[in-house]
Symmetry: C2
Subunit: 245 residues, 2 copies
């Protein structure tokens, strides 16, 4: 089985001839060692489009390509999943952005909860976007989750928990399965995951007032990054009678 051509993030994608941005040129020529005549799949996670591309000239560090007509990305998540994720210690959010991208989240809202240990600034968003695009490239996803700048949790709930679809806060006693198994594969879902120390009562009350259902994955106390992966995995595998796209 021949290896599929490498996927290279390019934004925006336009049909025709183009010189690649320096970082992309380096990636194509130095990391993948592609040269004139080699092909790759250009994908634009912003617009969820992709196009075949062929290298037509390499001169020093400059790489020129011929890009075919863009088409809609072939692989995208089946449902819209908003993850409101309380920020945690150290680089936990890096791992969460990577996992959430692989597991199909479409909007990530980092939220500073009362017990959040870290209060990341807006400058972190650029880093998280880069991680999300790299994870999208690796997992073959044609889009990347949108990323909001960090918000205070109560504001995040007010703005994002009223989205259409099922909304859950992972801090309850009714099993998540009760709610997600009956969902269709396309139904929108919003998940709120608390910080290491859990959510404060006032935060849970605000979530419930905004319409979130209190749910649990069971009696074990999961790390916040494990909750994210397990709950998104549960959503991927929750709906009966559906096939992967």
């Amino acid at each position: 089985m021949p290896r599929p051509p490498p996927r290279v993030p390019v934004s925006p994608i336009a049909e025709g001839s183009a010189t690649l941005p320096a970082e992309t040129a380096r990636y194509v020529a130095a990391v993948h060692r592609l040269t004139v005549g080699d092909r790759f799949l250009a994908f634009d996670p912003e617009s969820a489009t992709e196009a075949e591309a062929e290298i037509v000239e390499v001169r020093g560090r400059s790489v020129r390509v011929a890009v075919a007509a863009p088409r809609a990305a072939s692989v995208r998540p089946a449902r819209r999943v908003t993850l409101i994720q309380a920020t945690g210690k150290g680089d936990k959010m890096d791992a969460i952005v990577r996992d959430a991208t692989e597991l199909g989240a479409t909007l990530l809202v980092p939220a500073v909860a009362m017990r959040s240990v870290s209060r990341p600034g807006g400058d972190k968003v650029k880093r998280w976007r880069r991680i999300a695009i790299e994870a999208a490239r690796q997992c073959g996803r044609g889009d990347a989750p949108a990323l909001e700048p960090p918000l205070p949790l109560l504001e995040a709930i007010a703005r994002f928990a009223r989205a259409p679809g099922a909304c859950f806060v992972l801090d309850g006693d009714v099993h998540l399965s009760e709610f997600v198994v009956p969902l269709t594969r396309e139904a929108s879902v919003t998940l709120l995951v608390g910080p290491e120390g859990g959510l404060e009562e006032t935060e849970i009350a605000a979530a419930v007032a905004a319409g979130l259902q209190r749910v649990t994955l069971g009696p074990l106390v999961l790390r916040t990054e494990t909750v994210c992966a397990a709950a998104l995995g549960a959503l991927l595998a929750a709906s009966v009678g559906t096939r992967p796209a």
Copy 2:
């Protein structure tokens, strides 16, 4: 709400008076700063038992405790889950052991697949056991998954994939949900997760011959450690009409 007493791994647990092993004594006195009269919950992940304990004497680094009658662990996974996990690069298996413990795996079988980059020796098992016990302590689980020494994958399939219950290899095109949603919450499950580069055709054929169903979590290419967390999360949330213990 008062904080629950700390959980301290002690093996074996016996009713009566005892001097704690040096490492446990350090943990109790230096990490948790407990002293005479303080209580903790001693738990033995080997036997899945637990007992209330009270510190009766601290002399230098020596800690004596009075242990109440042991009882069966109050929190254990609802089903038996065997994870046959192909070994990966670097410390991936450390993270997988931690996640799998939190997410209820009961037997971990590290397996060296044809495309496995690392071939860990039996000496790694001691390290993974320590990680599993620490994860069990943190997540409130009264047992810890059993850990086999690393085996060649075909041998791991021959020995462990014939267990009773549903058996899956995460390398197919029928969605995992088709199979797991109808399972009862107590049904045993065996999961085989391949290495970074995927399983070889001969390995998949051996798995299928041993009775494993080929399944997928969707069209995205997940890292091996993400597969583990997502698939175990899917099992936790798969069964309708059940409540957490």
